[in-house]
C-alpha cells in the first residue's frame, strides 16, 4: 500500500489512524480488547478523575477540579431543565452519561497517536439509535397514541397537514442518521485533515505551511470536539422533549 505515493516522500494514509487494532494481537472478535476499547476505558478513567475525584472534598468553596465538575454538572442540568422541563430531569443521568462519554472521548482523541472512538459510525450509530429508540418508546408509553400528534401539525391549515405529516415522519426517521453521522463525520474529517497536513509536512518546501495548517486545524478540532458533544447532547434533549410534550 505504501508504494502508491512513495515518490517525493508523499505518503498519505489519513484513514489508517481509524483502524481497529487488537492490543494483544490475534483476530478482532466481539470481545477482543482493541484500541477502541482502550480509549473508551480511558474516557471512563477521565470521567472518574473529573467528576468523582474532582468532587471528593465536597468543599463549599470549590477547588479548581471541583469547579470543573460542578460546571459540567450545571451545564447539562440546565440544558435538560431548559429544554425538557422539570419532568425531563428524570433522564438527566442518561444525558449526562452521553455527554461525558462523547466529550471525554473527543478530547482524549486529540492526544497525538491516540484513537478516537467517536470517529466510528459503529459507536455513534449505537448512541443515536439508543436515543432514537428510547425517545420513541418513551413517547408512546407517556402519551399513547397521542404521541402521533407530533406528526400532525395542528397549527397548519388543514389541507397542508397530510403533506406536513409525511415530511415530519421522514424527518423523524432521518434523525438517528443525521444525529450519528454529524458526530462521527466531524471528528473523522478533522482528524483526517490533520493527517493529510502531516503528510505534506514531509516536503521541506511546504512543511512550514503544513505545520501551521496542523496547528490551525488542531485548534479548530478542540472547538469541534466540544461543540459536537454539545450538539449531540442538545439534540438528545430536543428529541426527549418531543417524547415528553409531543404537541406543537
Amino acid at each position: 500500500m505504501a508504494d502508491k505515493a512513495e515518490e517525493g516522500g508523499l505518503v498519505f494514509h489519513p484513514m489508517d489512524q481509524f483502524i481497529i487494532q487488537p492490543i494483544f494481537g490475534g483476530d478482532v472478535t466481539w470481545y477482543t480488547p482493541t484500541n477502541a476499547a482502550l480509549w473508551m476505558g480511558l474516557s471512563i478513567v477521565a470521567i472518574i478523575v473529573l467528576l468523582v475525584l474532582g468532587s471528593r472534598h465536597r468543599a463549599i468553596v470549590p477547588s479548581r477540579s471541583q469547579s470543573i465538575a460542578e460546571l459540567a454538572y450545571g451545564f447539562i442540568y440546565k440544558m435538560v431543565e431548559d429544554i425538557c422541563g422539570k419532568e425531563g430531569l428524570r433522564y438527566f443521568p442518561y444525558i449526562m452519561t452521553l455527554f461525558m462519554f462523547i466529550v471525554c472521548a473527543n478530547f482524549l482523541g486529540l492526544i497525538p497517536t491516540s484513537f478516537t472512538p467517536t470517529s466510528h459510525f459503529a459507536v455513534t450509530v449505537v448512541l443515536a439509535l439508543a436515543v432514537f429508540l428510547t425517545v420513541t418508546v418513551l413517547g408512546f408509553v407517556k402519551n399513547g397514541a397521542g404521541f402521533l400528534s407530533l406528526f400532525w401539525v395542528s397549527s397548519a391549515p388543514l389541507a397542508l397537514r397530510p403533506i406536513l405529516a409525511i415530511i415530519e415522519i421522514i424527518s423523524y426517521f432521518v434523525r438517528p442518521v443525521s444525529h450519528s453521522i454529524r458526530l462521527a463525520g466531524n471528528v473523522m474529517a478533522g482528524h483526517a485533515v490533520i493527517k493529510v497536513f502531516a503528510g505534506f509536512a514531509a516536503i521541506a518546501a511546504v512543511s512550514p505551511v503544513a505545520v501551521l495548517g496542523i496547528t490551525a486545524m488542531y485548534g479548530l478540532e478542540v472547538l469541534v470536539s466540544f461543540i459536537q458533544a454539545y450538539v449531540f447532547t442538545i439534540l438528545t434533549c430536543v428529541y426527549l422533549k418531543d417524547a415528553l410534550h409531543p404537541h406543537h
Binding site: M15, T34, I47, R58, A122
Partner: protein
C-alpha cells in the same frame, strides 16, 4: 500507524475503517460496556455527590443571607434604640436644667426676700436710732437753751421762772 496487523486489511485496501463491519460487533460490545460503567459511576457516585455539594452551598448561601438580614435588622433596632436613648437623654438634660434653673430662681427669690426683710429691719432700726438720737438732741437743745435762757435772764436781772422759760424755749424750738 502500524499497517501489518490483521485488523488493518479493510483499511489497507483503501476503504474507510469505519465501514469495516467486521469490527462493529467488537466496538458495540465495548461501547455498551463503557456506557453502562459510566452510567453507574455517574448515577451512583458522581451526580448525587455534586448535587449534594450544590444543595449544601445553596443552603449555606441562603442561611448566610438570612443571618445577614437578621443582623441588619438587629443593627437597625440598635440604632433606633440609640436614637431613642439620645432623645430621652436630651429631654432629661433639658428637664434637669429647667429644674436647676427653677431651684436656683427659688433660692434666689428666697435669699432676696430674706435680704429685703433684713434690710427693712435694719432700716427700721436705724430710723428708730436716728429718731432717738434726734429726740435726744432736741431734748439736749431744749435743756441747753432753757439753761442758757435762764442764765441770760438772771444776768439781765429779771426774775427767773423756770417753767415759763422752758415753755418759751419749747415754743421757739418747735417754731
Amino acid at each position: 500507524m502500524a499497517t501489518d496487523t490483521p485488523g488493518a486489511d479493510a483499511a489497507s485496501s483503501g476503504g474507510m475503517p469505519q465501514l469495516d463491519f467486521s469490527t462493529w460487533g467488537n466496538q458495540i460490545f465495548w461501547l455498551v460496556l463503557t456506557l453502562i460503567v459510566i452510567y453507574f459511576i455517574l448515577s451512583r457516585i458522581a451526580l448525587p455527590r455534586i448535587a449534594a455539594i450544590l444543595a449544601e452551598r445553596q443552603g449555606t448561601i441562603t442561611s448566610d443571607l438570612a443571618a445577614a438580614e437578621d443582623l441588619k435588622a438587629k443593627a437597625e433596632e440598635a440604632e433606633a434604640a440609640y436614637e431613642k436613648a439620645l432623645i430621652d437623654a436630651r429631654a432629661e438634660a433639658h428637664r434637669i436644667v429647667a429644674e436647676a434653673k427653677a431651684e436656683i430662681q427659688g433660692d434666689l427669690d428666697a435669699a432676696m426676700a430674706k435680704a429685703d426683710a433684713e434690710i427693712a429691719i435694719k432700716a427700721a432700726e436705724s430710723e428708730k436710732a436716728i429718731a432717738e438720737i434726734r429726740a435726744g438732741a432736741l431734748e439736749a437743745v431744749k435743756e441747753v437753751a432753757s439753761e442758757t435762757a435762764q442764765e441770760i435772764v438772771t444776768a439781765m436781772g429779771g426774775s427767773t421762772d423756770a417753767k415759763a422759760i422752758s415753755a418759751a424755749v419749747d415754743a421757739r424750738v418747735k417754731g
